[in-house]
Assembly symmetry: C2
Homo-oligomer: 348 residues x 2
């Protein structure tokens, strides 16, 4: 079984490297929690260990592939904003959140047969479906071991519910696939489940370890939920718009899979009869020709569906920021406000 | 997406129907814990529920397919043998154990591409790989929700470790696949991990809910571990020996997948040069012709490899029974002793 040679792989985890202005918000946040983030990276490497060599190989392949560690960063930042001191609970739970995320990526690779993930060959392409499923299971179980070691039933409750909500969201997405009758509300249910819930939980556990009142916990959860919704909306927009190299992801994946996303729903709703026939053929009947993706991108541009999607994301970011009003101003809070904008601005 | 019409499916879960003398031990055990088992079945159905309709459909397909509920039965019986009274903790944890088992079956279906599982089309054949992976994830997460609701960090610790050990065992099996240099010790590591650990945990949590001393907990865990090892050994023997209809499983699955099991290791070790060439071609190089399975079964018979495998299983059953000596005699203990034999005798 081959292993892709990669310096990041050899190193275990890749350092985050901001690549432009849009990443400054994240860079500023990282600067504020750098020792925590480094401790989190060490925990991730330590807890990927297994006497079964293939496990750290597959796990490192995806964990090392240059992910932004956005979700664990949110846990670390939320905990610090809430004044958490005196331990590594936030670090361990941040690692746990990243493990859950990584497990879903591995299972997504199987599910979606995506050829590229973060610019490297997907784990499934390199190691096969079997390894992706089973190593995903391992990381998921490891996440629970980390939570159990943390010892808080409240945290366990939040993250166990999150895990089933993620799975429900993914299955719901499967149900809506190829179905142009999917409503925008249902689409939002999907992205809340598959993406935003984990952002919400990542933020909420930061408040929990700092023992903050329910209202602050809820505010952070809603901040995370809205950041996550915005993040996924932008992701869905980028799949019809982005420069493939910059995104490190194959453009048009969603189109080829017949995934129902907001850009498609907007363009379909605004389309004339001929356009709707095009969408039904390509998305519902999965009959696609070589130039269909280009045409889809044209139709989406014609009806300003990317703009509509990004506007919806901007609204989510604004809602996220409003939720933080219950917290006093601080450098970390300022960064979290900028991170909400970053999730939207990274598209432009 | 089609649903296989099945009365069991409509009913949610199938009742257990003993089919012969070998099943009497299980039947006797069921008779002793019937109200508990019925409560467990109700919990399973309730906790499979989801607003996402595909989830209970897929879950019911596999949960309803007539599984023997062997693992939850062990939890229920262990708890009762330990004198547990006054609640439904054992019932909820038994359901949780079955969910973990079901999740691994769903992921196994993806992994092994097995055409038959328990005599019905595998979930993956009916619903597709995607649904099998994601519904498996959902059931796994639901198992953790049930544990969190139970509220015991000790139980959570046992079952979280069990979940990662199962995944490690499955990945180790992947590593040994097609590798005739696999030692018997390594093969035993695989079956301990992928199968026996869950039997051990299923039994151990019965002692935990009844608040028994460590020594009794450990004794039940070792009973379960040995029952599980015997169970898997017999499973591996049956794959080269059983009557397909009776097993409800395609014979020769392991052979076709190049899985390394004890019957193959024994026959390979005892084989002459020509036989070893046969095994290398079929198992290591995965080059198989139509009549190779028949020849493999002949070679396994020639070297009495089934007998050797069943003898090893019988030894495990004896070890399992010996572990129960720390418990006073009782009708449930008598049944658990018989269950250890059942796991071996079901092959004959």
């Amino acid at each position: 079984m081959g292993v892709v040679a990669s310096p990041a792989l050899a190193q275990g985890v890749a350092p985050f490297a901001p690549t432009g202005d849009a990443e400054d918000a994240l860079g500023a946040l990282i600067a504020l929690v750098r020792p925590d983030l480094e401790a989190c990276n060490r925990t991730i490497v330590e807890r990927m260990a297994s006497p079964v060599a293939l496990i750290p190989q597959v796990a490192a392949h995806i964990v090392a592939a240059g992910g932004k560690r956005l979700r664990p960063l949110l846990t670390l930042a939320a905990a610090r904003m809430c004044g958490y001191q005196g331990g590594l609970r936030h670090v361990h739970l941040a690692a746990c959140v990243e493990f859950i995320h990584t497990a879903t990526l591995l299972h997504d690779d199987v599910v979606d047969e995506s050829a590229l993930r973060r610019g490297l060959a997907s784990a499934n392409a390199v190691f096969g479906n079997k390894a992706s499923v089973l190593v995903g299971d391992f990381l998921f179980a490891r996440a629970f071991e980390l939570m159990v070691a943390d010892g808080s039933l409240k945290v366990l409750d939040i993250l166990a519910r999150t895990a089933s909500t993620i799975a429900e969201g993914e299955v719901l997405q499967l149900t809506t696939q190829n179905d142009l009758a999917t409503t925008e509300a249902r689409y939002l249910d999907v992205i809340r489940g598959k993406t935003a819930t984990l952002f919400a939980a990542a933020c909420q556990v930061g408040a929990v370890v700092a023992d903050r009142p329910e209202a602050q916990e809820a505010a952070l959860a809603e901040y995370g939920m809205n950041v996550g919704i915005g993040f996924q909306l932008v992701d869905d927009a980028l799949d019809y718009a982005a420069d493939e190299v910059k995104l490190g992801k194959t453009v048009g994946d969603d189109f080829r899979e017949g995934k129902i996303t907001l850009p498609v729903l907007v363009a379909y709703a605004a389309g004339d009869d001929g356009e709707r026939r095009f969408w039904r053929r390509t998305i519902e009947q999965s009959e696609q020709n070589a130039d269909d993706l280009v045409h889809a991108v044209e139709l989406i541009a014609r009806h300003q569906a990317i703009r509509a999607t990004l506007e919806r994301a901007t609204r989510s970011a604004a809602e996220a920021k409003a939720k933080l009003s219950v917290f006093p101003d601080s450098p970390i809070k300022a960064c979290l406000l900028r991170v909400a904008d970053y999730t939207v601005n990274r598209a432009r």
